[in-house]
């Protein structure tokens, strides 16, 4: 296999890793204002992703860095083209990152509520914008003969791309709810189960509609055949449908596996639909950026392949170990607000 095709696939894998892992973090963030009933439960929800969200986010850092290194023209055109959308995305990313570390640093209910909402709005906004952004790659953008973006902010919005954003939000909310059913206990667990059941059908329906629409867009606007794009799309639809069914019969572990597979299938559908292009140009299809045209030279790709093949297994190993360390369900009992002074800790036991 050519190294540039290998790197196209690897970038798809990095996006899959990012959405599979950070996707449930987004979902937990979206549910923060709605599912917990008290500070202890809010703390438990934060703790369910506290140790891992940062490592999950690095998958995005690597995906962006790998795009820069392996496909400089793709990185340059995409990031300059999505300028204002990415500015908004950075806002969401920043307030969300900060919310994790800063929220617990004061006991003021107002401060905590601000950072809780920062996490929720950040998580929702990031999911929405990534759906919109990645869908635009395949739906097509006005590119000039130089491969530069030649449109404005409004060109990013179309029925398909906006729907993609909404579908990403719903699927991640569902993915997050099914994650929480594996990580919580007691009343909170009951309520996360209710949330997962309520989200199951809308998320599975939106996800399925997005996948079908993506296949149509790939055929219509990117000159693709039904095969092989339809394969990951059908797998994704099956996974999301199964996830919804499993949630109703109370099989949390399997349901989470299925939302995870659905997420991976969605990325696979987008990238299969995109190949051999990396950004479709519309209306001038001939100006599209493709894999050979956007890629780095062989030597760079060879060097990075060696590094990726050595380092990635190690990363997977220690990230898995970290999930293993934090596998226990969170009772909320050991979530003392860290700013609580010692004297008050003995008198004011957490409400339960």
């Amino acid at each position: 296999m050519d190294l540039e095709i290998f790197w196209f696939c690897l970038i798809a894998v990095l996006w899959s890793g990012y959405f599979l892992l950070e996707g449930f973090d987004f979902g937990v963030g979206m549910l923060l204002p709605f599912v917990p009933r008290n500070e202890r439960e809010r703390g438990a929800m934060f703790e369910s992703i506290g140790p891992v969200w940062d490592g999950n986010e690095v998958w995005l850092v690597v995906a962006a860095g790998a795009t820069f290194a392996a496909f400089p023209a793709w990185y340059a055109t995409m990031f300059s083209g999505f300028y204002l959308a990415f500015l908004l995305l950075l806002f969401f990313l920043i307030v969300r990152v900060v919310s994790f570390e800063w929220r617990e640093k004061s006991e003021s209910p107002r401060w905590r509520s601000v950072w809780l909402w920062a996490n929720t709005i950040g998580s929702t906004g990031i999911a929405l914008l990534w759906g919109l952004g990645l869908a635009n790659l395949i739906h097509g953008l006005p590119l000039d003969s130089n491969g530069d973006y030649d449109g404005g902010l409004v060109d990013l919005f179309s029925a398909y791309t906006v729907f993609a954003g909404i579908a990403f939000v719903l699927v991640f909310a569902f993915h997050g709810a099914s994650y929480l059913t594996l990580r919580t206990t007691g009343d909170l667990l009951e309520r996360t189960r209710v949330a997962a059941r309520r989200l199951a059908i809308p998320a599975a329906a939106a996800g399925a509609a997005f996948l079908i629409w993506t296949v149509v867009v790939a055929i219509d606007r990117n000159d693709k055949d039904v095969f092989p794009v339809v394969v990951p799309a059908v797998l994704g639809i099956a996974a999301l449908t199964l996830a919804a069914l499993l949630v109703y019969v109370g099989r949390s572990g399997l349901a989470f596996t299925m939302t995870a597979l659905g997420t991976i299938a969605a990325v696979a559908t987008l990238f299969t639909g995109l190949y051999p292009r990396v950004m479709v140009s519309n209306p001038d299809f001939a100006n599209s950026l493709d894999v050979p045209g956007a890629s780095s030279a062989h030597y760079t790709l060879a060097v990075m392949t060696v590094v990726a093949l050595i380092v990635t297994p190690v990363v997977l190993l220690y990230q898995s170990w970290s999930y293993y360390v934090f596998r226990a369900r969170i009772t909320g009992e050991d979530v003392h607000p860290p700013t609580e002074a010692m004297g008050r800790r003995s008198s004011g036991s957490p409400a339960s």
């Binding site: 140790p51 850092v61 790998a66 300028y83 780095s296 030279a297 220690y318 990230q319 003392h336």
Partner: protein, 463 residues
């Protein structure tokens, strides 16, 4: 170039300067406080002395508040190359992208995963393993520093590449990774990180002495900070000087500008202070204090060394690259060099005086020094900012030394209005974050704050 395009470049430059200087207010503290906190935990682990556990928790909290904002602002840096500098990104991606991608995969993954394990692992991991997670996170952050400086140094001193169809392509990854410029920059930057960490630990400890709060506890922290600060600030003066020699051979114009040296000299005196002499039309200062032969030594390692002047270098570059102005802003470069060097000396003096007072057992009583040490927390911030202004503005008009001009590297499809919007956006957001960060840091560093459960010994019994 049209005036509009020039506005877009200027705005993009101001934006990059603003966001990267801001980012680098937080990064070096992460680099330096990390190993100090890990050392505190190691001492606790070895001796079982609860004081060191409390110090680990205390400074660990400051470390994490600071870390969060460093991560958040780092994302902006990664996006900004593509957003504002698309021509640059296409030109350098083959070479510059690789260390960036490796930084994420090899360094940030390590740092973020193991820091998560450290923060939440107090009761879940064995003490030895828990200690190891922090050290591994520190290794991750120090690795990330290496890869990003490899990338930056390639812009200062490009190596291991060839130009094919108007793009730089990598020819030797070994040359890229062992770039002498990068190795020197790395040592210089990591030492800067340790200076950040030790001045924060020392300053905060002295603040506690001033209020007579937990004096016994913070005496231990102050001792550790001084043990690090004295050799490191001294070493930094030597390393900074050696780094200057590397700059002389790679970027003669930068050195000439940093000394406002208009004409080639041999031997050359070092100007400590001067009035005037900063522009082409005004090349002779009206007043200056100069140390004979010192510049020759600093730039070349020999008291007889020759340093090329701005006028000669300008003529040479014009003959190589065609007509144009190849000189950076001499006034800014001259003063940023001096601010960096003078605060560097001051930081050494603070550390040395502090160590002497500690040795004489007078540290906690010398209120004049305690106030100085609190104020001296600002010094590394000032020095690092000046250092980056020197490094990056001194490279102008090039974005990649000798290969690509800054004025030709921005995104052609991004209008100056968009850049102005994003610049305004970052200034407002960063100011807000900066104020909140300062308030939080102060609140968690201040004497007399009740102990938090984070700083209490990890509960042995849970029920």
């Amino acid at each position: 170039m049209s005036p509009l395009a020039s506005t877009a470049v200027d705005l993009a430059r101001i934006q990059f300067a603003t966001t990267s200087i801001y980012h680098f207010l937080f990064v070096p503290l992460t680099l330096g406080l990390g190993p100090l906190v890990a050392t505190m935990q190691t001492i606790w682990h070895r001796t079982g002395d609860e004081a060191w556990l409390r110090l680990t928790r205390f400074f660990g909290t400051l470390f994490l508040i600071n870390f969060a904002i460093g991560v958040a602002t780092g994302l902006v840096q990664e996006f900004e190359f593509g957003m504002n500098w698309s021509v640059y990104s296409k030109f350098v991606g083959n070479v510059f992208g690789a260390p960036l991608a490796i930084e994420g995969l090899a360094a940030f993954m390590l740092e973020s995963t193991f820091l998560g394990l450290w923060i939440f692992g107090w009761n879940r991991l064995s003490p030895r393993l828990h200690l190891a997670t922090l050290w591994i996170a520190v290794v991750g952050s120090w690795l990330s520093g290496y890869f990003i400086l490899v990338a930056n140094s390639w812009m200062q001193h490009p190596v291991g590449y060839k130009i094919v169809d108007g793009e730089a392509q990598l020819t030797s990854v070994w040359a890229l990774l062992s770039n002498g410029f990068a190795l020197r920059a790395y040592v210089h930057t990591m030492l800067a990180g340790l200076i950040f960490g030790s001045s924060v630990v020392l300053g905060v400890s002295c603040w506690h002495f001033l209020r007579r709060h937990e004096v016994d506890l913070f005496r231990k922290a102050a001792k550790l900070a001084l043990i690090v600060a004295v050799p490191v600030t001294l070493l930094q003066l030597v390393v900074g000087n050696r780094f200057g020699e590397a700059v002389t051979s790679a970027q003669s114009m930068k050195i000439a500008a940093s000394e406002a040296q208009w004409n080639t000299c041999q031997p050359c005196g070092f100007s400590l202070f001067q009035i005037g002499g900063f522009t082409v039309d005004d090349q002779t200062p009206s007043f200056s204090i100069t140390v004979p032969r010192l510049l020759s030594y600093m730039a070349t390692g020999s008291f007889d060394g020759q340093v090329e002047g701005l006028n000669q270098l300008q003529a040479e570059e014009e003959s190589s690259y065609g007509p144009g102005n190849y000189m950076p802003n001499v006034r800014v470069i001259y003063w940023s060099m001096r601010v960096m060097a003078f605060t560097g000396v001051l930081m050494f003096l603070v550390a040395a005086v502090g160590a002497w007072l500690y040795w004489k057992q007078k540290l906690e009583q010398a209120r004049w020094f305690l106030w100085t040490a609190v104020g001296a927390i600002a010094f590394p911030y000032v020095a690092a900012t000046a250092g980056w202004i020197l490094t990056e503005m001194g490279r102008q008009p090039w974005i990649v030394q000798g290969l690509l001009l800054t004025s030709e590297a921005n995104s052609p499809n991004v209008s100056s209005t968009w850049v102005a919007i994003s610049l305004g956006f970052f200034i407002v957001l960063y100011l807000l974050l900066g104020i909140l960060d300062f308030v939080l840091m102060r609140r968690y560093a201040r004497p007399g704050r009740p102990l938090t459960s984070e700083e209490l010994p990890a509960p042995a019994v849970t029920f």
